[in-house]
Amino acid sequence: MNGFHQSFLATAAWFSSCGLPGWLGLVLAGVVFYAVPLFAVVLPIAGLGQIFERKIAAAMQRRIGPSTTGIVGILRLTVNLALPWKAKAECNRLAERLVAFGPVALLDRLLTRTGVAQLAADGVKMIGKEDLVPSGVDGWLFRAAPYLAIAGAFLPFVVVPWSQHLVGADLSIGLVWVAAAGGLTAVAILLAGWGSNNKWTMLGGMRAVAQIVSYEIPVGLCMAAVAMWCGTLSLQQMVAAQYHPGVLSFLGWNLIQSPFMVILAGTFYLAAIAECQRTPFDTAEAESELVSGFNTEMSGLRWGMFAMAEYTETFLIGALFAVLFLGGYQSPVGEQWILSLPPLAETVIHVAIMTAKCLVAIWVMMWIRWTLPRFRIDQVMRLAWLKLVPLALVCLFGLALTMLLGARIEQVAYGRLLSAPSAQLPLIAWALSWLLAGGAIIALVVAAKRSGPPMPAALRRLTTAPARKA
């Protein structure tokens, strides 16, 4: 029973003690406890993700990025709306004077330099754009697509644990819910591509869905392997399974339990990036070939919802990566001490740690995006089917064998952890598994390097320098 849910029930009770009917109290409390945290935290983070990305891209290209839009415009609007009886010029002058005032000026400078004010400006621009529905489109499909995109990006967050007490719904089949709700994105893209009556959207949508469904399989296999290791599908219990009581709490994290876990983490990360179609895997919206892919016909806020869904998904991948491999919300050191704190303090610290882990994962994703060029579609598909799927299967077997040989299995039964398994494996078994699996992996890598397919003759002619005439 989580404390979060208890306070939700208490609030519902308070609402109904104010004279509201019981069901209305429940819905209101639900909005306060489930909707507000989710949408008030995830929505701005989806927006901030864009600014974050623009800033990182700028830093990687030795630019400054968004740095000129301040809050003067917003202040002008606010003052004009607040004092409707005054002349417009007077209101504007007032706003200018307000911005010159010390603390406000400091805030203005901060928001300008970090680009956060740019986010507000972009949002206002987007919401003021004309809501264009071209005449040839399939109205139902075209209009339904953004809804599904948003749902596919937001619904998986219900099961993501942010602390011991803060989790929307701790489903016993959490990972299945993540996969199922996340699958809506593919439907959204298919609808947008098919319904827009445009060959670019059609091709983009088809490519996108082919790519998403291909990468769904390695992602699913990786999640299955980790769930097997932890003996549960519930994300909250998965975090609990990675608890280590010593000072060095990170020793319990899945990532360092076995070399197979390291490969699984890499596979999961790559496949997840490809599943949400960020560069270098963005063949579906390759702007130099397909205009902008499945959302070519979308404008204004409809397009904005797809963008928001994309950034929410990067955030979700960060959260999932943290839960599956990096111990979830747990601190790398001194987790024992944090758990002994009162619930509120524990929640605050854990949410901060979880957010930090997510941000690191997102940052690496952006780093990859601004470093590598786009892959061709055939390379993308080959990577999914011929590399990642077999790799994930091998790692799944490796983990299963490690569990059987290392007697880890005694601690896990029927999807329930009997106790928090602290030292997961005997030291010798642990060292042996690293040695054997690590050696096997290195051997595989060497073998794979040797047997690469030869470069096509035409491509070799194009890429090698022509022989100089004597």
Partner: protein, 152 residues
């Protein structure tokens, strides 16, 4: 926390019966209610944003003047489009969809297996091996046939 507990107890009568059952561990209500609520909200938030967009853009741009070029499918600025969405496209996409069905079901079968794995031990591993062997033979066949190669 004491006041909260009494409040819960006091309002147990006012709440639906399923809610008060939540006192002893997570009930169906605990699980289904947040999910149902979020489904509704996930639909309401985009709807609200789109309505706001309609209203605000109406204020900003005035009524639609019915621009013909704006209404057409996008084609890099040309008004008459060459080739619509009804064109033929690669059959490879269909092939990928078929492959996905087979292998995603494989993953779906893995989920119940991995929960039972802890109890079964070696025998469960053998079971899985037998199951995957059948599938992976097919996978290897597809590989050799070049079905997984996008260029063919």
């Amino acid at each position: 926390m004491d006041t909260g507990a009494t409040a819960v107890a006091a309002a147990a009568a006012a709440l639906p019966a399923s809610a008060s059952a939540a006192q002893s561990g997570p009930s169906t209500f605990d699980v289904v209610f947040p999910l149902a609520l979020l489904l509704v909200i996930a639909a309401a938030v985009p709807a609200g944003m789109l309505i706001a967009n309609r209203v605000l853009s109406g204020l900003a741009h005035g009524p639609d003047t019915g621009n013909r070029g704006k209404d057409q499918p996008f084609e890099s600025g040309l008004t008459s489009t060459a080739g619509g969405a009804g064109e033929r496209f690669g059959v490879k996409f269909y092939l990928v969809a078929m492959l996905f069905l087979v292998f995603d079901i494989e993953v779906a079968v893995l989920y119940p297996w991995l929960l039972a794995f802890a109890a079964g031990g070696w025998s469960m591993l053998v079971l899985l091996l037998a199951f995957l062997l059948v599938l992976e033979v097919g996978f290897l066949y597809l590989w050799r046939k070049g079905a997984l190669d996008w260029d063919r």
